[in-house]
Symmetry: C2
Subunit: 164 residues, 2 copies
């Protein structure tokens, strides 16, 4: 079933990525328990789809639904922080490590209107021993809504990743 | 209607505070839009009640429901971060300022089992100009699940608060 277009209040929610992005089921890396953000793809809370861009960086398109409201007509900062926790943590997983998030530092830049689709960009900044440092941001075009740094800790043995 | 005891999966969720705490409707300081955490008090996501303790510090009892799942059987880190954003921001409001959260820095200490009631403690660390620094933690007895620092910015003119 194609969930890139889903009806919300009679309006289609367009979660499609850029033309050079590839759909990627990042939450499946963790498993079906990961449902706070990803588990209700047709609901009124979050709708999210993951992609890898041409450089294999993890991206997400996210819709903040009416149940995420905080300030009138805008997403709750906690909802934005939650999405950043999920996407940045999954960026660590997508880099080949089973990780837990140890620290998440979110700076809120602008109020995010409800029922808009935004992009979460993320990248691994460094990997040192068990520490995987990831940064990312919630944005739309030139508008930045929030930025975050995330310290992930690899648990158990990281998977071997192919070079190149 | 008394929402301190609410049924979940046939089991009562006990959100009562300590005997010397006073119920305090902190979300009402912001208004009815603030519903991501507080807006579904009988649902399967978050159930929360606010109090002031004997020293007038804001406290919350929070239940993380099945919809907040991240790791199997445990709360999503993003759900914990969201609750900390709400409670620490409201601590700024309860201190007499209309605030927005500018930065939230969360350190996750232990996995939090789903469907347990925990306490969020918070306190204003400093107020300087428009900056209100708040810290807090999610805990239960001696168990600490997460700790956070939160920089709030007062918007408009802070309310005048009574001395003593």
């Amino acid at each position: 079933m194609d969930t890139t277009m889903a009806k919300a209040d009679g309006m289609a929610v367009d979660l499609r990525g850029e033309s050079n992005w590839t759909a990627f089921d990042a939450p499946a890396l963790v498993g079906s328990s990961l449902r706070f953000i990803s588990g209700d793809p047709h609901g009124e809370r979050f709708r999210i789809r993951y992609y890898r861009d041409a450089a294999q960086q993890l991206k997400a398109r996210v819709w903040f639904g009416p149940e995420t409201e905080g300030p009138p007509g805008h997403a709750h900062g906690g909802a934005i922080a939650a999405v950043l926790d999920e996407v940045l943590g999954l960026t660590g997983w997508a880099a080949g490590h089973a990780v837990v998030v140890a620290n998440l530092n979110v700076s809120f830049r602008n109020l995010l209107p409800l029922q808009t689709v935004v992009t979460v960009e993320s990248e691994v900044v460094s990997m040192s021993g068990r520490k995987v440092l990831v940064k990312g941001r919630v944005c739309s075009g030139s508008a930045i809504y929030a930025e975050a740094d995330c310290l992930c800790i690899a648990i158990g043995h990281p998977k071997t990743s192919d070079e190149g």
